[in-house]
């Protein structure tokens, strides 16, 4: 028990004294996750809208593929992106491997199926009469689409929170594409894995506390926002 309490005590010290190494991992995680989330929203929202709004041949197949990608193993994504961005890969010249951008690219592939699937589901579940109502008032296609997004904002926000949770908490992509380089690409999750392996529980626990606190804050914010709208 002492062993656990000591770890917790040291973790709180690291957090309250603004330990540089701990905060470097926190900010690296936030930067990589935010970048990947922004990119996946930019690509995933329009694709999710198209998938949810329109009926086309093969829609069910596309939906099944997107849904299957929701449980994509992080190490598999890490492996494929590694092959593309390593010096021998087609994107090797951009020197993305072992950078935050490299981690963000990998995390993008984890987040984008979540955004597409949940946006499509949110749009699909909206009342079909809404389209007729909007048309009847003279709304053009773009105005109709924007209104749909606005009406589904709570569900889309939930999709963004879920995607952020997925990339913020993953280890495989960050480890393989970031390389866990101290002060540079070490994220909270890779740091926890490393410190635990070294028997340094204090920093691992400190980062674990921050990780869980952030998840709680995001979820409370999400609940508040959903109720508000």
């Amino acid at each position: 028990m002492d062993y656990f309490l000591n770890g917790l005590k040291n973790a709180l010290i690291l957090i309250t004294t603004l330990d540089e190494e701990t905060y470097s991992a926190i900010f690296t995680s936030l930067r990589a996750s935010s970048l990947s989330l922004l990119a996946s929203l930019a690509i995933g929202l329009p694709l999710g809208f198209l998938l949810g709004f329109y009926n086309f041949k093969g829609k069910k197949i596309v939906q099944n593929i997107v849904n299957s990608l929701l449980s994509l193993p992080t190490v598999v994504v890490g492996l494929f992106v590694y092959m593309f961005i390593s010096s021998r890969g087609p994107l090797g010249d951009f020197h993305l491997l072992f950078t935050i951008k490299g981690i963000a690219i990998g995390q993008f592939f984890l987040a984008v199926p979540i955004i597409i699937a949940l946006t499509a589901s949110a749009i699909e579940s909206m009342d079909e009469r809404l389209t007729e109502e909007l048309k009847s008032m003279g709304a053009g296609s773009l105005q109709q689409s924007l209104t749909y997004f606005y009406e589904a904002k709570a569900a889309i926000f939930a999709a963004a929170v879920t995607a952020f949770g997925r990339v913020f908490a993953e280890v495989g992509v960050s480890m393989m594409l970031g390389g866990n380089i101290k002060w540079s690409t070490r994220t909270m999750t890779t740091a926890i894995a490393l410190e635990t392996g070294k028997g340094e529980f204090a920093m691992g626990m400190a980062l674990g506390i921050v990780l869980m606190s952030l998840a709680l804050v995001i979820n409370f914010f999400s609940m508040y926002f959903t109720e508000k709208v």
Binding site: R129, E132, K135, S136, M137, G138, G140, Q143, T147, E151
Partner: protein
């Protein structure tokens, strides 16, 4: 020649092998209230949606003020307004819902206009502007939807079953508003299965049956071929029964005539010393006690008529099937359709 506000030419819409909407020619003008009446599944809503440029027809065209309109033309669509049977408001406040049509037109709306439209529909702006749409009752939703569709002053207003699932107070408010719109020279098209209400409101009523628009098959349609008689009267024989219609226009001999079921009085005895020109001895064929009133179908040889009476009148007259009665109505109660 006056250009119709809205017209439909050679419209065909197929849904499956059983149902085809087939409308050869239809027009309605500014200042007119046109009704569509017919049973469920007759194609009323489908035709209204095609007229409202919401549903594209498989064949044929819709013309707005003589200009061919497509479903993709938002500018032409903005001349129209469609009030749905079950309105779907945006999940926002009533104020934001009323603002929406202006937002898509990139226009601003004055707070007074918002308040006035709600007052017109007997909704207190101080209470309702802030309310969220999901906090409204069914009747309130319908009235807010009406406000949302009328606030931008459309020229052509299409209403699908405006009296369905609403309370009597809301029906009165909606009816007043319809006449108000007519005074402002709007073209109003209404579909309803409530013939009694529709015949009070609409000047022209079309009957839809299995996708076809039948102008001459609504209740109490006495048809054409009325012969000019005397002093503005026109006469038509139904077997041994003579029916008189009155019109100040010489040309009205060419039109068909119908009578609102509310305008037919039922009497147990022959009424003497009465100004009504039409007193017809008939038999009660069928009695249908409804929520608001009683529908009595009467028969005399080739002539059949429907009268709406109150439940009290049914009890007072002690009506039953095959009872002999007199149907009494004025010649001027017969209305002309072209």
């Amino acid at each position: 020649m006056k250009t119709p506000a809205i017209s439909a030419k050679s419209i065909i819409k197929k849904f499956n092998s059983d149902f085809v909407l087939n409308i050869t020619d239809f027009s309605s003008y500014y200042g007119n209230i046109t009704g569509f009446y017919g049973p469920n599944g007759s194609g009323k809503t489908t035709f209204m949606k095609i007229l409202g440029l919401i549903l594209p027809p498989d064949e044929g065209s819709i013309f707005i003020e003589g200009v061919a309109a497509s479903n993709e033309n938002s500018d032409l669509r903005r001349k129209l307004s469609f009030i749905f049977q079950e309105p779907k408001l945006l999940r926002r406040s009533v104020k934001e819902n009323l603002n929406y049509p202006f937002k898509i037109r990139k226009e601003r709306v004055s707070p007074d206009k918002l308040k006035n439209i709600l007052l017109q529909l007997s909704l207190d702006p101080d209470i309702f502007l802030r309310k969220k749409s999901h906090e409204l009752s069914g009747g309130e939703k319908k009235r807010v939807s009406l406000a949302q569709k009328l606030i931008y002053d459309p020229n052509i207003i299409l209403m699908d079953e405006p009296t369905a699932n609403v309370d009597i107070k809301s029906i009165d408010i909606i009816t007043k508003l319809i006449f108000e719109m007519q005074k402002r020279n709007k073209c109003i098209l209404i579909s309803s299965h409530d013939y009694e209400w529709l015949s009070d409101v609409a000047g022209d009523i079309f009957y839809l049956e299995r996708g076809e628009l039948l102008k001459e098959r609504f209740e109490n349609n006495l048809g054409r071929n009325f012969q000019k008689f005397d002093n503005g009267l026109f006469r038509k024989n139904f077997g041994s029964v003579e029916i008189f219609a009155y019109s100040e226009s010489e040309n009205d001999g060419e039109c068909g005539y119908y009578i609102n079921p509310n305008d037919i009085i039922i009497s147990l005895e022959y009424p003497n010393n009465i100004s009504a020109q039409n007193i017809v001895e008939m038999k009660v064929k069928h009695i249908d006690v409804r929520n608001k009133n009683v529908k009595v179908e009467l028969m005399s040889g080739e002539l059949s008529l429907t009268s709406y009476i109150s439940k009290k009148a049914l009890a007072d007259l002690d009506l039953c099937k095959n009872k002999d009665v007199y149907a009494v109505f004025k010649a001027s109660s017969l209305k002309c359709y072209t």
